[in-house]
Symmetry: D2
Subunit: 162 residues, 4 copies
């Protein structure tokens, strides 16, 4: 079963710039993480953008949607910043593509020892294999439907809204 993994950036892929002393983006950590998980699934990785999701525009979201629409794979995983993951999920969900699309991310960058990224990646890759067509957000063990989830920013968690 072929799985497409689209990278968009977010906390998941932030890394530390030794010169500026700030968090920034270089290449995705997805390949290293799949290797660490000894993942034996057929996953094809493509980086669509590498941005903080607070800076993601409507155009960016349309671009992600088009990438999903034209993908050869029926099963698509997207790494995404947590701050606007729900908004992107809505754009994808309303398009009702004949695909299983799962968005995931991390509360702490993978480059930190304390990251939840590897756990979330393993979790999301399972959900994308078995769930029916639809758009989902997989974070911290849970899987939410795109139309019943919100990020509680004060607590730093995702939860259902109904």
């Amino acid at each position: 079963m072929a799985i497409r993994l689209f990278i968009t950036g977010g906390t998941f892929d932030k890394t530390y710039d030794e010169i500026s002393g700030r968090l920034h983006f270089e290449d995705t950590h997805a390949h290293e993480m799949l290797r660490l998980g000894r993942c034996r699934l057929d996953v094809a990785v493509r980086t669509l953008m590498m941005i903080d999701s607070l800076e993601m525009t409507d155009d960016d979201r349309r671009s992600i949607l088009e990438s999903c629409r034209s993908a050869a794979e029926e099963r698509i995983l997207i790494t995404h910043g947590t701050d606007t993951m729900v908004e992107t999920g809505r754009v994808l969900g309303q398009a009702a593509l004949p695909r299983t699309i799962v968005l995931t991310g991390a509360m702490v960058p993978y480059a930190f020892g304390s990251s939840d990224g590897l756990f979330n990646l393993g979790s999301a890759l399972s959900f994308v294999q078995v769930l029916p067509h639809g758009v989902y957000i997989a974070m911290n063990g849970h899987c939410f439907s795109w139309d019943n989830v919100a990020k509680n920013r004060a607590a730093g968690i995702f939860e259902t809204v109904r």
Copy 2:
């Protein structure tokens, strides 16, 4: 949705004994791993045994089966050494309990920086939530039915047999 997590030991939980210079077992790393994954599922952990799966006896397997049979939860995850995970899966599978049971483990101890354990734990927790009743082995992204899986020891991977 309540999930029961039974610990039996295996590579997953091996740690380094500074005094003897050998790998051995202390407490399970499962709690620390769930915390690292910021897992928000309702997971109840119980350690059944803490052994290398090469040393697991028929009695041990019967004891695991009885723990599954008498568990209050319908969804059960078991951490297990990879060497005889398939044998334990067969004992559980033939019992055909009205439960979803997933076995997982690791090729490299969690205490090592290069472990696949956190990825597998995230993956297995997803499968156990969504799969129908049955017994499964979740390793390295894949989920196998108990009656169609073998460990290829030379390659250190799990694969289907049919």
Copy 3:
């Protein structure tokens, strides 16, 4: 031999705030690092401040100098942001206290998997034990006298100036 370890913050101790998505300061990692190094030296830790060294004022530096002057220990290690470590070294060096004072830090926060912090801490603790009275900067294996060192910010390294 008693060693005093003064904490002032800097990259060394920056950590990731999951709620804001920014690097910030919580408690020092020094205790955890000494434990990880199984350090058996007699080290007494005290946090003087917890700030980015770009924000360190003349008053802060006078306060660090007074803490060194009044310390009971002859051997003092100071963790410090790399950006103005040399300035603080100059204030301490010009005071010519009858003490061995070593400043160290990290190019990458200890909380990152790729940090040089533990290496630098081990290195600095050795230099502070054996060097004569004076003020030194220990970074990335080297030990510089306070009056012959500069940070090359473009390259992210410390080097001699003469």
Copy 4:
């Protein structure tokens, strides 16, 4: 100042063999550790052997001694298993070479998240730069003269004997 780093194996460099499930030796981690520490010293690494120090023979020790005697560098660091580090130190110490030789190692393999290896490497590289000719053991912050140190195996620490 040129430093020679001789690798002999020991806990320091043990890694996990996924196929056999045992600790074994592959290549040294020294290069990776020097890179992680962003070490800017002039260190030339050479692997002399890659063995558990319990299996080190008199011939092995003579071979290490000859490597030290014929080294171009005056300052030599040796990574070594902790169990017989003191014995090798004695062989080197009695030869009274006109060199500064420091032996170091780790209580926990570097490949483990909880290793003291990086701390010890940073520490030993400092001692080897500044100490006078002689043979020393640098472990866990301390530096011992070869003729006044023993490993307390029950406690897993090094201590003076006089």
